[in-house]
């Protein structure tokens, strides 16, 4: 036993001596090493008894890292080789103690001895958002919808109808993602909403009942794409959207809901998808001579749709805008615009990149109805490059010819635009160079479709807003135009250009145009043969403006209603209960292409508070014009006993209005002189003039009092029966108070005009509930009979 102990001691001493001699530093390194690279000597091992991490629990922001450190017990344990692991590396991964947060959630990071797996330590890692959800608003577009819906119609940007529901199509997905304000958790700067990585809880209710997949499916709970089924069409749903990942206390605040009406149609999120309006017939080659090599526009649209992952054969029943949309040159086939080569080949009459004239962006040529519902959003064409006109571009007076249109409908059903705020690309001719680019595109053309309807729309800065053409080679009807609650602003050429349609504009506003409110073109009631040999049925366009407001142009000299190229009498342009405002230069209401027939309205100095609720007008194209001078007087009616009393009133003899009337009308020099003298005295008293001998005194007096005449119109005379007499030779009545009435059906052929006077009989009066049409030569005067208000 003693011998054995001595042997053991000797061996131990020899071993230690050997180790020191071999690598003395290795012992020290090994004892202090907490890593896994050292290879301790088995023969000298100090056993590891425990390890610990510097944290047992920690939170790490997503996409961040944190380093965990290990403590060994004993500190000088020989074997410090460890292994790191995560129980869910998709949430938090680890390598050599460095933990990377990859996904929101909880993971356990474990470190254990390689040699002895029972020695380990664990840290619970919670991966948290690296962003802060600092606000949830209703979907941006829905806020805009709500905003636009309630705008006061008195404002230029406000729609007339504030009640239109939010429409959603059933054909494709509908996005309901709210607008999240997501901030970087450290800097508080905004980051993309896509960094909020939680799903949303989305449901839909029909009435009080939450619906299932019969009506509604959630396609993507993160991006909030949902889809209504065909069974949902015609029904109203309330969709509720709640973001995940928020404290329970904030769920209610951050939950948003929208109510929608589901319709049969396609939800449009970008301008390219407007191409679904287009149904050009196959092989339809547009007859644009300069585009021979590139003129199969149907094929071009098909290519374009395929290139943009759109089905070229899909024909939705309606298109529903789901956001503001701006159409650019990149959103339609490229052959709509001149290439540099084409422009060069065609000389300086074209410009590279500019729109080819006679381009119709979206053309519909199939039977059936089509609706574009705007949900009060913008549809903006202002970025479309302007057309450099051909045919030497402008007339001496600055005329610009334009034929390109945003929408075109041919031989189809009802085409309806509603609840859209449309903007064109018309610019104004400030310089000669501008003139050849000015004008822009037409909003919509129609030929042979059943009707072109616009409801609750705003159309600004187009060349023309509505253009009806002559389609009549096969007995097809003219397209009827029906405008209701439409606002037209600031067009270049005219608001309405009519070739034969029946135009009805109700409750609408037309303001500030470079040309007329309405142009009647090519009026010809006889069947005729065109220059190219086609026999075209005659047509007589009719236009009704009912309860509309027509305001003056900013400046300019064209008539408010014009007629061109007419070979026969145009039917009525009926102005019923409309308001006319005019300031600035005198305006003519109607004229023909010879400059004849101007009806100068008399409000040159009356300001915007003066208006007519009149009537009028019609004229013949190449027949006699209507010439008149400012009217004065008052026309009053009663309709209780169906008796028209024009209420010719004998004003006080010193009434300056009456004096003005007498001075201006009476045939007797003595009476006229007496009236002038009385008028002069009244003018002095009112301070209109200060010196009766002023050479301009007469003009000042008449200028002032003639404007007053509008408020106190007087008819020129009475007939033998005491009834009214119209004398169209010089004047006709303009009523000066607002007696707006609902539109009633006209009474046809009340009387055929004879000579220049019309005296209704009692029987005729009985058949005149609210207005009558009086034909006079080539002219028809349509008068609303407004109940007299004392």
């Amino acid at each position: 036993m003693k011998k054995a102990k001595l042997s053991t001691l000797l061996i131990t001493l020899l071993s230690l001596t050997s180790l020191v001699a071999c690598n003395p530093g290795e012992i020290t390194s090994s004892s202090n090493n907490s890593g896994s690279s050292n290879q301790p000597s088995a023969s000298s091992a100090i056993e590891l008894t425990a390890i610990a991490l510097n944290k047992t629990e920690t939170s790490i922001l997503l996409n961040s890292t944190e380093t965990l450190t290990v403590t060994f017990t004993p500190n000088n344990a020989t074997d410090k080789e460890v292994e790191w692991s995560s129980d869910d590396a998709t949430i938090a991964s680890v390598e050599n103690g460095v933990v990377t947060a990859k996904k929101i959630g909880v993971a356990n990071i474990t470190v254990k001895s390689k040699k002895n797996a029972s020695i380990s330590a664990t840290c619970k890692v919670t991966v948290k958002d690296n962003v802060i959800l600092s606000n949830v608003s209703a979907k941006h577009e829905f806020v805009l919808y709500e905003q636009n819906k309630v705008k006061d119609e008195k404002n230029d940007d406000g729609f007339y109808d504030h009640t239109q529901s939010y429409k959603v199509g059933d054909d494709n997905a509908f996005n309901v993602k709210p607008a999240l304000t997501v901030l970087d958790a450290k800097t508080y700067q905004p980051v993309s909403a896509s960094q909020w990585l939680h799903d949303f809880t989305i449901s839909a209710k029909l009435g009080n009942d939450t619906v299932g997949e019969e009506y509604f499916k959630v396609l993507d709970a993160r991006e909030c794409n949902v889809d209504f089924t065909e069974a949902a069409v015609g029904k109203t749903f309330t969709i509720s959207i709640a973001p995940g990942g928020v404290d329970a206390s904030k769920v209610a605040q951050f939950t948003k809901s929208i109510t929608v009406d589901v319709v049969d149609g396609y939800n449009v999120y970008n301008a390219k998808e407007l191409g679904y309006f287009d149904t050009r017939p196959q092989d339809y080659e547009h007859d644009v001579p300069r585009m021979e090599d590139d003129n199969n526009w149907k094929a071009k649209w098909a290519e374009f749709k395929i290139a943009n992952n759109m089905n070229p054969d899909y024909l939705p029943a309606s298109l529903i805008l789901q956001t503001d949309i701006a159409v650019t040159a990149n959103d339609v086939p490229s052959n709509f615009f001149y290439t540099a080569e084409q422009a060069a080949a065609l000389g300086d009459t074209k410009a590279a990149g500019s729109l080819v004239d006679f381009t119709f962006f979206y053309e519909r040529t199939v039977a059936g109805d089509m609706t574009i519902d705007g949900n009060y959003f913008d549809l903006d064409f202002s970025a479309i490059p302007l057309i450099k006109r051909e045919r030497q571009k402008t007339t001496a007076e600055g005329a610009v010819i334009g034929h390109a249109a945003a929408f075109k409908a041919i031989a189809g059903g009802d085409i309806t635009f509603r609840n859209i705020n449309m903007t064109g690309n018309a610019k104004k001719a400030a310089s000669d160079e501008d003139k050849i680019y000015a004008g822009g595109i037409i909003f919509s053309k129609a030929a042979g479709s059943k009707s072109l309807k616009a409801y609750n729309m705003i159309a600004t800065k187009f060349y023309i807003t509505f253009f009806g053409e002559d389609p009549d080679t096969n007995g097809d009807p003219f397209t009827e135009f029906e405008l209701d609650k439409v606002k037209c602003f600031d067009n270049y050429n005219s608001f309405l250009y009519n070739w034969g349609s029946t135009v009805t504009a109700k409750n609408s506003l037309f303001r500030s145009c470079g040309g007329p409110v309405l142009i009647q073109d090519h009026t010809n009631t006889d069947t005729y043969e065109s220059n190219n040999g086609f026999v075209i049925d005659g047509f007589a366009p009719v236009a009704n403006f009912i309860d509309c407001t027509i305001k003056n142009y900013v400046s300019g000299s064209e008539a408010w209603f014009q007629q061109f190229n007419a070979t026969s009498v145009t039917n009525d342009i009926k102005m019923l209960s409309d308001l006319f405002y005019a300031t600035g230069l005198p305006k003519s209401f109607v004229t023909n292409d010879k400059g004849e027939g101007k009806l100068y309205q008399a409000l040159a100095t009356a300001g915007e508070n003066a208006f007519f609720n009149f009537i009028v007008l019609n004229k013949s194209g190449r027949a006699e014009g209507i010439t008149t001078v400012p009217a004065c007087g008052t026309v009053n009616f009663t309709n209780t006993d169906k008796t028209i009393t024009f209420n010719y009133r004998q004003p006080p003899v010193d009434d300056p209005v009456y004096l003005a009337y007498v001075a201006y009308n009476t045939a007797s020099d003595e009476e006229k002189q007496a009236a002038y003298q009385a008028l002069g005295a009244a003018a002095l008293a009112k301070g209109i003039i200060t010196d009766p001998n002023d050479p301009e005194a007469g003009n000042k007096i008449m200028g002032y009092f003639e404007s007053l005449c509008m408020e106190h119109m007087m008819l020129r005379g009475v007939n033998n029966n005491g009834g009214p007499v119209f004398d169209f030779g010089e004047r006709f009545g303009l009523l000066a108070y607002d007696g707006r009435n609902p539109f009633l059906q006209p009474i046809q052929n009340v009387v055929a005009g004879s000579a220049s006077q019309f005296t209704p009989t009692q029987e005729q009066l009985a058949n005149m509930p609210n207005y009558c049409t009086i034909y006079y030569g080539g002219m028809a005067l349509v008068m609303e009979l407004t109940p007299y208000v004392a």
Binding site: I132, S134, N135, S137, V143, L144, Q147, N155, D156, D157, A179, T181, P190, S192, S194, K256, D283, Y284, D287, A326, A367, D378, D380, G398, I401, I410, A411, N421, M422, T423, G424, K428, A429, I458, I464, E469, D470, P471, T473, N474, F489, D490, Y492, N493, G514, G515, I519, D521, H522, S530, N531, N532, F534, V554, S555, S557, E558, F564, N565, D593
Partner: protein, 163 residues
Amino acid sequence: MKKSTILLLVIVYIVSFFVIGLLGHSIRNYNPEVYPESVEIIDPDNRTEMSKDTVDPDTGELLYHYYFVYKNYKSGDSVRIKANIKPDNCTYPDVKFTKDESDTSFKIETHETNPNIEKNFALITLTDELETVLSTPFFVSTTNPGSQIKLKVCITFVSPLLS
């Protein structure tokens, strides 16, 4: 209607248009209205840190046209901003401020709701105590007919605890 009929109709229409008539009349002396060309949002009191056109660096998505950070918020504080429309002779010189009405965490007062506030100014106020961070996203838009300029604006209030 047969396809051939439609095609004939189209061709006839086009040809006839060239032959029958053109829109030849004059446009004279027309001075159009002046529409807004730009809107600038400023913090007239210099109480915030402002950044313009904040975009997601990964996607390029525009987050806000104007983004203001108001630090060390104290209960009851308000931030005032102003919208400047260009050009100066614009026919439509006013703007409108719009927010999600269902979001009651903040309010916007303007000349319309409080005549003491000048036109085109807005006063943004939180309605509750602020625990950490709250953003107030809203729109500023022009009032012209046709397409309006619409700006996305946001003011973020940061509690002193985080500031």
